[in-house]
Symmetry: C2
Subunit: 229 residues, 2 copies
DNA sequence: ATAGAAAAAGTCAGAATGACTCTAAGTAGT
DNA sequence: ACTACTTAGAGTCATTCTGACTTTTTCTAT
């Protein structure tokens, strides 16, 4: 093994970035997966869109760093945050950067209400997750990977309600699943699944103002211990 | 946001470590999960056992770094290697270290044959995964986390055969599952499961020299595309 | 030959799943 | 006030999946 007494400039820079997902209504009034991106204001990839992120602050934990950068750049405070993967290929800057950067990437979910409060500016914009432009670094692959994780995780865990506000109807919850998975679900079977897993409970209220039978309102059951896993 | 023009000594050190699993026969002749650890030869935690690992080499990818460190310290060349998690709490050295270390941890599986070829010395030893001493840093928690991942992943993917040699009987494969999951499985149901998922194929050979009906030998079917996921 | 042991195939009941039907309870239009 | 329309919500049914179990086969050891 080689000596490691060389100057610490040899150590790759550590960055923390986050893939944020929200469901936003598209032209058809359907919910669609969207992700906010920020425009790079310096080389390399200046002017191109990239994941929000930044260098790891020395006195911050990884997840804390992700939250803070998110708040600073997009003003978003996600309701769900989980580590996705550490990306550290030697060539991930595509030869455009002298120093090496290892990115620890998180993924996050925000509710529709929260998503509207995000900064929208020249340099921060929402994009549909399945119609992204060419992004800086390897960020296209990273978002693709995060999408896979989200689609997989929604099937076996109870994170779907994070996209909604505190109370919601089963039809709204089903809409979340349909938007994420990209296919329609049978309303009856969906109801049976949700009720059998005990992820929601009735509030006793119903949603008024619809032009049909008023649906019951539910809330997510409080999670005991580390069940989100 | 604070200025980032400070010297790069502010950047945390990046280390890559690996949790290695193998199945080794214990006193009863049963297979049991074991993991090799190395003794630390410098502060902090000098003399205590720790995961094999080391600083990230600037010109190596993360997984490559994991393999190389493994080969150098334990002489093992795992047949399966996957990123586990990036651990980077500010206090993970327990106040015993001035500089901050972020560890990108991999987990690996080695076959029983390969495991025997590992270095066994004063400073490198196999431990039963469920009877570990107190390790350096947060390595006890890391191994616990890796164990959970292994147990989870063996249920939905086809990694079990990696613990065995190229050809094996269904009884041997079942033994792997039983050792990892820590419970007995019904032989008939196990056979049905394995055959229905098409993860193995007959070699045409049978294992001779048993004191009963000779079982068929199987090999793992070759995996097409990224199916291990 | 016979006993013992595990391999390999088969059985069966209950749970989970997907496709589907039927009834309830609202609104909107006339 | 009645009717048409729409979705909520309950229920049905056939198929598949799962776990527990039984039976038959085929080898070695004595």
């Amino acid at each position: 093994m080689s000596s490691w007494a060389t100057s610490s400039i040899e150590t790759p820079t550590l960055a923390v970035s986050t893939v944020i997902f929200a469901l936003r209504p598209n032209g058809d009034g359907c919910l669609q997966l969207a992700t906010p991106l920020v425009r790079r204001i310096r080389a390399p990839f200046e002017g191109q869109w990239a994941l929000p992120g930044g260098p790891l602050n020395t006195d911050e934990d990884l997840a804390t760093s992700a939250s803070h950068t998110l708040r600073d750049t997009t003003r978003l405070e996600p309701r769900y945050l989980e580590q996705l993967y550490a990306f550290g290929s030697v060539d991930r800057a595509g030869g455009k950067l002298a120093e090496r950067v290892v990115s620890i990437v998180y993924w996050a979910l925000v509710g529709a209400d929260e998503a509207d409060r995000a900064i929208q500016s020249e340099n921060v914009q929402w994009f549909w997750a399945d119609e992204l432009p060419t992004l800086a670094f390897d960020h296209n692959q990273i978002i693709e990977y995060a999408l896979g994780r989200l689609r997989n995780k929604i099937e076996y865990s109870r994170i779907a309600h994070v996209f909604l506000s505190e109370t919601f109807t089963l039809a709204q919850l089903r809409e979340v699943y349909e938007a994420v998975l990209g296919r329609e679900l049978d309303p009856g079977n969906f109801r049976r699944m949700v009720e059998s897993t005990g992820t929601v409970e009735e509030t006793g209220e119903r949603l008024a103002g619809t032009r049909h039978r008023p649906p019951k309102l539910y809330r997510a059951t409080t999670i005991t211990a580390g069940e989100t896993k």
